[in-house]
Symmetry: C2
Subunit: 549 residues, 2 copies
């Protein structure tokens, strides 16, 4: 993982193979993509303070996990200091590193995790569990004023599937496994866990659980809260072990207390998760819908119908335009086809090409099942004036889906800020919430006198509602700290979520970024309940202090 | 509700219209159904102590909810003292009333609930919320040695559907509504909540939530934990109000902390629940399967398949025999048909009639959907040597399903003890868990030298496992207190659940009956987490003390 940005060194977003993206960004953000105006400071120019760790604690940690798994190396400490929120990227790129962890410890098994936690509590040190480091809600950063020794506990060595119960379709998995490695191990036995968040390539099972993650196929496989049936967590009160039972009435759900706990209760070492046979058939189809209102109606009707797609996703007009602009250089035949489709839509279907919405709907299972679901969905789409545009766009989306986060670094290189805010709400709330966010983001851009762009998609459909996922970008005015302007826009959107009946985040967690909206979302007694839980289990506040509440 | 037994006065189980049940009970329990040997003491003979309530507290309560809604009437206090566990019934029938509530308060709205709770805490009184009073885990009874004033807070007046959001398929409902009244209000608008526990007729929405209830159509509609999207709860820390969002990452789920809280965190006043359009078509079909092993295999395969039935249920051989024995007196044509079926099964299908298992599988939706699901299930059943026996038995089951709890009173009248214990476990665990329960219950009967009967059904299928629901009955030896012998059998079964990898209860909650197995189920840190939550929110232990932990 890059210390200053997303993903693998050497991989980045580029406009060179996408002829339409430059002009699009020029229009949307008044930004010249050819001008790289801002680069991260060089690593060697960073001011990395000496680690504050007592010799005997370091020795004890080395004893517990082995010398080679205890590091005070500057690069390790800088990589483990934060997640990948826009604020994290901007500050790291500037060389503003905040309160770095003093030591990075990489235990090999649960017993070593327990030993490290015991040492940390005895020494009154702070422990911050670290999975893939992709969190964008500030869940990984130590408080600026933390005076105790900070241990970043990296679960990366605990990456194995420990067993698959074929008959029960359950797998026991170590929490530090990354998405691709998890799927690889399961695919070899004919199974998949079906959890594919945008961060999939760089995030871990333990991180998904700690933040209540949701993957793009959640319509079929469930959110991580649904597919996680049991957890093992090393806590100050001992090792929590719940049972992999499908449902239980053992009082308030302890399993659900761990989901979303962001390291505040302990270190998740293992989970038992649903696995499914790799489906015989898997297809993602593209659809075009006439406008956003009809797009929302289609998604609501699919959720109410007897169809059971694996993916439901539709972009608003702005995101649809962005998607088309990121198309790679295509053959003249492709261009001709696109033109012909545009003409057909306008003349025969009376589409407004500026209002139309691109949708992806996925199907999985046997041939018969997939065919039946496609038919049910096709009827709903037709009734609302939409049409299927086949497999091409869906296949492309399926290939590109994990690359999106690289765009933020690309824009930062060019002086622009881009980030995301997502929520969920009841079906009846979504249209108004959307309109409110558009109006209030626009008002924020105007107040700052910046040129901004806002786009949105609906994804993750449920019986009673869905997630709306907004992406926004703007070129800072130059009048103030760009992060201050970012805060203005981000806060306008988040406040609109809670004012309009949505939640502060559907699947990006609370961390420090969203903590100020928590009481408005779950009410003051809700905050008191979470606080009572954390205070009772971690009276010394040794576990990732300052997050959530 | 009867003060000494289940359900409505004047309604009871009878053998008079069931020619086979007398001989069956004679064989199974060595009990003569014609001999009523034990009846509840007369109400007038009960020794009901004076209520311990200060005059000023009583006056303040009357001020808060109105004079007519504050009662110290002996019958009210006796009815509100306990739920309907076997232990509750036996002791009430004997006139052993335990620690009665001192006063029954029936608030009319959430503000009145809040006022009552405030008065209770100020006076250091105990509040025990009361819905339908059907709990069978001891969740409603005050500790024997409680010296403070005990207020039973009956939610019965808060029984309205406050609104239905058609587009989101969500209804806001007051917590005190009974099952039939809830369905009546929703059916009038074309909706159903689809939650039908055995206690449906006599239990309330708030009670379902407080105990993590599950209904017989949970395969389609979900457990109450799934269908409850938002809650309002009056707590000592204020009124908790969560949002009706379909999914959220706001830290540990506060909604899930309320589910199963059994009054320990506050009084549930309102919930927002999933509702579904009343289906076009609804059918429950009967199937016969050759034996229990194949019955379990069929259920596991259905759960793994693309079929989505609304009900999956199969009885073991003992419960199948019991079901056949409870058939009402039938025409000679019916008897002839049954005989012909038996002969066919034995001769053509090589069934062992003593081993075969009766199954009910339900389907709901459009005609097309129902037909498609039936076909998928039919194939699985056939592959395991089973066959469909049509709608008759399913329709009968559908009518009778809420009458089962009356049988316990009928048996108590004849001196026999009967009760239920249910669990859930992973599919791979179920066969062994079942065998262990059968062996250990049998060993317990033998050790007591009693004639006992044990039967079981699987119901509530999930991706990774299912619920096993055991019913046991025996005629006490006469050598000791029958409740002591009951404890021996019940404890043998519960201990086997947790020893075999199951949970202490799938949907009957913890209360006081199951509390001693909680740590074995969710581990010591799990108990500590629940305790931290309760202690933090209710530091004075005013809310239903002694339950769960």
């Amino acid at each position: 993982m890059k210390w200053w940005g997303w993903g693998h060194e050497g991989v980045s977003f580029t406009h060179e193979d996408k002829p339409d993206i430059g002009p699009f960004i020029k229009r949307a953000l008044e930004l010249d993509v050819e001008r790289v105006t801002s680069r991260p400071v060089a690593f060697d120019d960073l001011d990395v303070p000496e680690p504050a760790i007592a010799t005997d604690l370091r020795a004890a940690l080395e004893e517990a996990v082995g010398d080679e798994h205890v590091s005070t190396d500057p690069l390790d400490r800088v990589v483990h200091a934060r997640g990948k929120s826009l604020r994290d990227l901007v500050r790291h790129r500037r060389g503003d590193l905040g309160r770095l962890p003093d030591v990075v410890v990489v235990p090999g098994d649960e017993a070593e995790v327990a030993a490290v936690l015991r040492l940390a509590i005895d020494a009154d040190a702070v422990v911050i569990p670290f999975g893939g480091g992709t969190n964008i809600s500030g869940s990984l950063e130590a408080p600026e004023d933390e005076t105790r020794t900070i241990i970043s506990l990296d679960l990366g060595r605990m990456d194995r599937v420990l067993g698959v119960d074929d008959a029960s379709r359950l797998a026991r998995v170590q929490a530090g496994v990354f998405g691709p490695h998890l799927e690889e191990q399961l695919n070899a036995r004919g199974f998949t866990v079906g959890h594919f968040p945008d961060s999939f390539t760089h995030s871990t099972l333990g991180g998904w659980i700690a933040t209540r993650s949701s993957g793009m196929q959640s319509d079929k496989y469930g959110d991580v809260a649904d597919l996680t049936r049991a957890v093992r967590v090393v806590t100050p009160a001992g090792t929590l072990a719940t049972r992999a039972v499908p449902s239980t009435s053992t009082g308030p759900s302890v399993r659900e207390m761990v989901l979303g706990s962001e390291g505040r209760l302990g270190i998740i070492t293992e989970a038992t998760v649903h696995v499914h046979r790799v489906p015989e058939r898997r297809v993602i189809l593209g659809y075009l819908l006439p406008d956003w209102r009809r797009a929302l109606a289609v998604m609501g009707e699919i959720a109410a119908s007897e169809a059971s797609p694996s993916v439901t996703r539709v972009s608003d007009a702005n995101e649809t335009q962005f998607s088309f602009a990121t198309k790679k250089d295509s053959s003249s035949l492709d261009r001709l086809k696109s033109k012909a489709l545009g003409a057909y839509l306008q003349r025969r279907r009376a589409f407004d090409l500026g209002a139309m919405c691109l949708s992806f709907i996925g199907y999985e299972g046997t041939e018969d099942h997939v065919a039946a679901q496609r038919k049910l969905v096709g009827r709903i789409v037709s009734r609302h004036g939409g049409l299927c545009i086949g497999r091409g766009p869906g296949a492309l989306y399926d290939q590109k889906k994990f690359d999106t986060p690289y765009i933020r670094d690309y824009l930062l290189d060019r002086g622009a800020m881009a980030d995301v805010s997502e929520t969920s709400a009841a079906w009846s709330v979504l249209p108004v919430l959307y309109d409110n966010v558009v109006a209030n983001a626009r008002a924020a851009f105007d107040a700052l006198r910046v040129t901004g762009y806002l786009m949105c998609h609906l994804s993750h459909s449920y019986h009673g509602g869905a997630c709306l996922y907004f992406t926004f970008a703007f070129k800072p005015s130059g009048d103030r700290d760009p992060l201050e302007e970012y805060d203005t826009v981000k806060a306008a959107i988040q406040q609109t979520f809670v004012d309009s009946g949505g939640t502060l985040s559907h699947h990006h967690a609370v961390g420090t970024e969203h903590a100020r909206w928590l009481e408005q979302d779950i009410s003051q007694p809700g905050v008191a309940m979470i606080r009572a839980l954390f205070d009772g289990i971690d009276p010394g506040a040794n576990l990732n202090p300052g997050k959530i509440v």
